[in-house]
């Protein structure tokens, strides 16, 4: 087959080629037109995303004060070391150098940097509160650490060690908490007030727009779009009395347990103490893993806030609830008396009174004053589980008090259903019922519930305990009060008077379980308790209020392994109450300066409010 170019092709091939080229370049022109003219806005947006980095300006966290304006949580200046993941990815050797300077494991560094992914230019906090010598060392050799930057930031400081449990702490935001609070990155409240009031304390993050080049270097600060200033968080004023809290801490020195004191009229928490405690500054920086381990594995459970999470059998402090039920139900009237011979036979078991010698003939008031167990065995058996459960719930047990703190536990008040489920239908005995009547066995309450309970007896009101009093926008000057929530107790004033009188006698009349703590200047009322602890020595409890005529403070104290309430918990509570009243009404005879107001009168006036 011989090749011969056809004459037609010879004549027109030049034009064919030019046409093909024109078509190809025409197609390119169309493509350019669609990209540069029609779809330009999309590409401009992508170009802007490339070069504009929104830098989050972390807001200053609100401070926390006590009721007298004493600073409980403040912000101290510190340096934070940040790493830009993308740049570190390009310069992996930086991690090795950092590990050396920071004295950290390379894997730990990589994990911290990569927490939000490696393909981002957003700086990730690598080490908060960098010690000055490390900062100086890094800053001096900065060029050998590409992708590293420092920021001047506020660090949380907790000057009052005795406040750790209710203040809580802040720590690095987990990636899944990105939308919690308002600042996108940085620290977030993890526990206590810091957690519960995160939205108010956290403030609002600002944003600054920077122009960066391909390697993430800042080349310019942009004014368009306009930057947004960070709004500082609100300051919180608590109801806590820092002086009283500190005093409670001193009184409890060397002991584990909880102290809760509140204003019985409105639920303002004056003291909320849990021991053992931990050093809150541990959580301000990055907590080393071994420190965390030792905290969580400590047999004393220092992270547990016993005031709201500690579950204890209330022991004899429970007896007012039983008596209230019995009086309301008409079981124990004025003539109701019991003969105590140091115990009571129930089936095959002898149920002891704490006083083995017996109390003799005991009426309603003496039963409270001397804490006669036999009296309450009889009442418990007469009332039955359901009635006990009903009145205990009315007095705030078996449900959360609604305190403004996280992780509160509701405790347990057994009902028929509960006992049937636990022991099998009908398998539980009258003995168990008798035990419940003296606050042992299946009954479990928290210290804050005890405080609300004793406050309810003192005033006839069920209060919702509150830590926060008001939120203050210090810059703007606006104040936002935290409303108190109070409801009336559905018990008759006469019943309450009996309970109060019994409690007054326990402290102020000979034979009372806390008679040794009487104080001529201030009439206090209270009830001791000892809760049997199968794991060791008994817990000592005390609930009380003062002054008797016009209650201003209600206290619940639990001392773990305190053995007897009257010797361990009662002195703490009584001294605390006295100190509070003395502080309120300074003077040699505080009792005389207090104009007595009838309690029932107060309850009535509140009901008509």
């Amino acid at each position: 087959m011989i090749v011969e170019t056809s004459p037609w092709w010879r004549e027109y091939r030049g034009w064919v080629f030019i046409l093909v080229i024109a078509a190809v370049f025409g197609a390119i022109e169309l493509r350019l037109f669609s990209m540069q003219v029609i779809n330009r806005p999309d590409f401009l947006k992508m170009a802007a995303t490339n070069r504009i980095r929104a830098e989050i300006v972390e807001p200053v966290r609100g401070r926390i004060f006590d009721r007298h304006g004493e600073l409980l949580v403040e912000n101290r200046p510190s340096f934070t070391l940040y790493a830009i993941p993308w740049t570190i990815k390009k310069n992996p050797s930086t991690v090795d150098s950092l590990a050396c300077v920071l004295d950290l494991n390379k894997e730990v560094i990589r994990r911290r940097i990569g927490v939000r992914g490696w393909n981002t230019f957003y700086p990730t906090a690598l080490q908060r509160d960098l010690p000055f010598e490390k900062l100086a060392r890094l800053e001096a050799t900065r060029l050998s650490y590409p992708g590293i930057m420092f920021r001047f930031e506020a660090k949380r400081a907790y000057p009052h060690p005795e406040t750790v449990h209710f203040l809580g702490y802040v720590s690095e935001r987990a990636p899944n908490e990105a939308n919690m609070g308002r600042g996108r990155f940085g620290l977030v409240g993890k526990k206590g007030i810091e957690l519960v009031y995160e939205d108010q304390l956290g403030g609002e993050a600002g944003v600054r727009y920077q122009q960066v080049d391909a390697s993430g270097r800042i080349t310019d600060f942009l004014t368009d779009p306009p930057p947004l200033d960070a709004e500082p968080g609100l300051d919180i004023y608590l109801n806590i009395d820092a002086g009283l809290q500190e005093y409670a801490y001193e009184l409890m020195k060397g002991r584990d347990g909880a102290v809760v004191a509140l204003d019985p009229l409105n639920g303002e928490l004056l003291v909320l103490l849990s021991l053992p405690d931990y050093d809150p500054s541990l959580f301000a920086g990055v907590l080393p893993a071994d420190e965390w381990k030792s905290l969580t594995s400590d047999p004393g459970h220092p992270l547990l806030n016993r005031a709201v999470q500690g579950l204890y059998p209330p022991g004899s402090t429970f007896k007012m609830a039983i008596l209230a039920a019995a009086v309301e139900e008409g079981i124990a009237d004025d003539n109701y008396h019991i003969e105590c011979r140091g115990g009571m036979q129930l089936g095959r078991r002898w149920f002891k009174c704490w006083n083995a010698g017996g109390h003799g003939t005991v009426g309603r008031l003496e039963a409270i004053q001397q804490s006669c167990d036999v009296f309450f065995y009889s009442l418990g058996l007469a009332l039955g589980v359901e009635k006990i459960s009903q009145y205990c719930r009315e007095l705030g047990f078996g449900k959360r008090t609604g305190i403004d703190i996280d992780s509160e536990l509701p405790g347990i008040i057994p009902s028929v259903k509960y006992l049937d489920r636990k022991y099998g239908t009908g398998k539980w005995t009258r003995g168990q019922l008798a035990n419940i009547a003296i606050g042992q066995g299946d009954v479990l309450v928290t210290p804050v519930q005890l405080a609300v309970y004793v406050a309810a007896i003192a005033t006839g009101r069920i209060v919702k305990p509150r830590l926060a009093n008001r939120l203050v926008d210090t810059a703007g000057g606006s104040v936002q009060e935290v409303a108190s929530e109070v409801s009336s107790l559905k018990l008759s004033p006469e019943t309450l008077d009996i309970l109060r009188e019994g409690m007054r006698m326990a402290v102020n009349e000979p034979g009372g379980t806390a008679y040794w703590l009487r104080n001529p200047g201030l009439i206090m009322a209270g009830k001791t308790g000892t809760s049997q602890n199968p794991h060791g020595e008994d817990h000592g409890l005390f609930v009380g209020f003062a002054p008797f005529d016009r209650p201003l403070i209600a206290v619940a104290v639990v001392i773990e392994h305190g053995e007897h309430g009257s010797t361990s918990a009662a002195p703490v509570a009584c001294r605390l109450m006295r100190r509070y009243i003395e502080d309120l009404y300074p003077g040699p005879q505080p009792g005389k300066q207090i104009r007595p107001v009838a309690v029932s009168e107060q309850a009535d006036s509140s009901a008509s409010d």
Binding site: V3, F25, R31, F33, Q36, T219
Partner: protein, 411 residues
Amino acid sequence: MHQIDLKLGKSRLHDIDRRLILSTIGLTLIGLVLIYSADHSQDVKTHFTRQIYFGLFGLVLLIATAALPPRIYYALAYVIYVVSLIGLMMVPVAGIIGLGARRWLVIGGINVQPSEPAKIAFVLAMARVLSYRGTPLSVWQVLGLTALISLPPTALVLLQPDLGTATVFPFLTVVMLAWFGLPLRVFILFLLPLISLFLLINPWIITPVLIVGLIILIKSGVKLFGISVTVALCIIATFAAPRAWDQLEPYQQKRLTTFLNPAAEPLGSGYQIIQSKVAVGSGGVTGRGFLRGTQTQLRFLPEQHTDFIFALAGEEFGFAGTTLIIILFLLYGWSAFSTARRTKSSFMGFVAVGLGSLVLYHAVVNIGMTLGVLPVTGLPLPFLSYGGSFLITCLACTGILLSIGMHRREL
């Protein structure tokens, strides 16, 4: 020959192709402006001045190549071709490595990329083969000779490895054979095995195409022998393709897969394509202004003074700038092909077609890559991309085309 010229009363210089000069100078100057802008974003700003030196040297070469009459090229075609092959063969022996391949020779302290001038040498040799005027050749003889010329440079460049440049030689062979007037059925005969390389990737589209091609072959009277050879080649190609894929360098595989789906790897190979498209698209009608393109100046655009220089033009000078460049290339191609059309010499026609296609092929492949419609091959943009070997080669192209234009009436 002189007589003809004298009769027309025109000097050769008067006959010079001004379109070619205009487009060459225009494109080179635009290239300098763009390289200046690319330098502006870098810490080391040496490309601009170096490109000026390359351009000046290329200008001298352009004048020299334009001054030589085409018969010299005809006479030296094979010699130049063999010298360029030797240069290519030197690369694996004495070359230096850059960008993951061995592409450069160091001659007198200057890095030279022999594959660039080899393109011109190839065109000259191919033109001389195809313009053979002795006893008529059969189709198979023509194919054999063109294969003989095109396979050595292709193979040597593939070895470097430089897939992009290696595609230049087969492409120019096809274009020049088309100009030669090789019957359509012969192209189909060879096209079918190429198409069947992709049969296993998408059989539903490729199979009908193959069937249509076979029908055309049968209708146009190709003998059973030819058809069975084609079918055999198709079968071989179908099953050889996956093996050939394995033979590709990982970065070459990546380029091809990235081209198919750039978003799959936005920070890897796809990064270049995405950033290039963003640069072009954000330019708008009049561009963001000289030295004011954010993609360029903040260095989001990769390889901005070489492979992606067209994207720089798109960002800073917009649709107006890119259209001007397109028009200048179009002008270049138009003048090359009208020269080819009008020349009376078969050799000059082939050279003009070959060199014109050489420049335009690079332009289209490079711009197509920049706009994200063709894979990233690493072919530079003629006259604009930074790089001495290629700029000088392109200017020499213009010189030879000018020479042919001035001598187009000769035989």
